[in-house]
Amino acid sequence: MYNKGIIVAGLAVFIVLATFPFWYNLGKAAPAPERILTAQAKAAKECILSAELMRTEHMQMLNDWRDMVVRDGTRLYVGSSGKKFEMSLSNTCMECHSNKAEFCDRCHNYAAVTPYCWDCHIDNPKETK
């Protein structure tokens, strides 16, 4: 074999470089962002579904809401406790969670997702730019 030493050394360097991000970040995963509620959201206590469900299912829920509102014109949601909500991202969700940067963006950034809801749905009626 020719140049065995160089090849092995090269391979070793390559493996170290390729796996560098993994062991470099080992044990220091970025902590999940803390949930920040507006005073209004805190006071409301109750959301559409339980906090756990909202955390994992809100995207599916918004998808279902969209079809119900756009296709069937059913715009009123009555939660299991009887509380009524208008089914609207801009007018209900963002009305209460008006701190988009803290409430939505931090988690979406952490999860590296970039939903484009707010391209159309005015992000925050309360907060003026």
Binding site: D67, R71, G73, S80
Partner: protein, 265 residues
């Protein structure tokens, strides 16, 4: 977790049947397992205006000049965040003015004076009974709401292919060639209604979002009685009485789309 997700979808399925939903939803919740937490429900707002066939009658005799159109167009366009683009090729229109010869080309005769040919008419999507735009749309973004006949768009689903624009014989649809957001005046923006993005088609929605909360369409409110809106399927409605006792015309009837917008001339 699984259960409430499933019941959510069930409710979606039931409401998709286009029922007035309340009685069925009641029965549905009554049959839900007792002793459990009550299931969430989805329904129309009680104040919503409903009809079997929404239609519009535009009484052109009540318009004195084209200036009367301006507040009507303005009302619609500002409520729906329609951008103002100066370039004619990029223009977005939900309701606009058209000369007689373009609005009613099938009702022309060669001896009409220029004045008659240019008579201004207010035009918008006709919410056709047999809408070619719906058949053309490959994604079902454009659909006819079976419950009340409104031809609606789900902007989320529109892929911007513009088949519908080619299919609509009335030019009722506009394409967002540019990002519309910078062209909506800050002071005019309606925070309650979404905007659209580049690459999406849009058109008049008969103010479905206003009907849902018990309000008449914005143009009807702004027209001081010159535009009448109601349920054509109801023999006692104003629109039905107007179309049965007045001479009315509709646009390009020979194409078989059967518009729901009638003009008293």
């Amino acid at each position: 977790m699984k259960r409430s997700r499933r019941s959510f979808l069930k409710i979606a399925g039931i409401s998709a049947l286009g029922i007035g939903s309340k009685p069925i939803l009641n029965a549905f919740s009554a049959s839900a397992p007792q002793g459990d937490t009550p299931q969430p429900a989805v329904m129309r707002k009680p104040e919503a205006l409903t009809a079997k066939h929404w239609a519009m009658v535009i009484d052109t005799t009540k318009f004195k000049s084209r200036d009367d159109f301006k507040p009507i167009i303005e009302a619609c366009h500002s409520i729906h965040n329609v951008p103002e683009l100066k370039n004619k090729n990029h223009e977005i229109k939900w309701i606009w003015e058209e000369g007689y010869k373009h609005a009613f080309p099938t009702l022309e005769n060669p001896y009409f004076e220029e004045k008659v040919k240019d008579l201004p008419f207010l035009v918008l999507c006709n919410h056709c009974e047999n809408p070619p735009c719906v058949r053309a749309c490959p994604t079902k973004a454009t659909f006819k709401r079976e419950s009340d006949g409104i031809v609606l768009m789900d902007f989320h689903r529109c892929i911007g292919c513009r088949f519908c624009m080619a299919a609509c014989p009335y030019g009722a649809r506009s394409f967002n060639f540019r990002d519309p957001r910078p062209f909506i005046k800050e002071e005019k923006i309606n925070l309650k209604f979404p905007r659209r993005t580049k690459g999406v088609v849009e058109k008049c929605n008969f103010c479905a979002e206003r009907l849902a909360v018990g309000q008449l369409p914005a143009c009807v409110e702004a027209a001081n009685g010159a535009i009448i809106f109601g349920d054509l399927a109801d023999p006692d409605s104003d629109v039905r009485k107007l179309v049965s006792t007045n001479y009315t015309i509709r646009r390009k009837l020979s194409l078989g789309t059967s518009p729901s917008v009638y003009y008293i001339v």
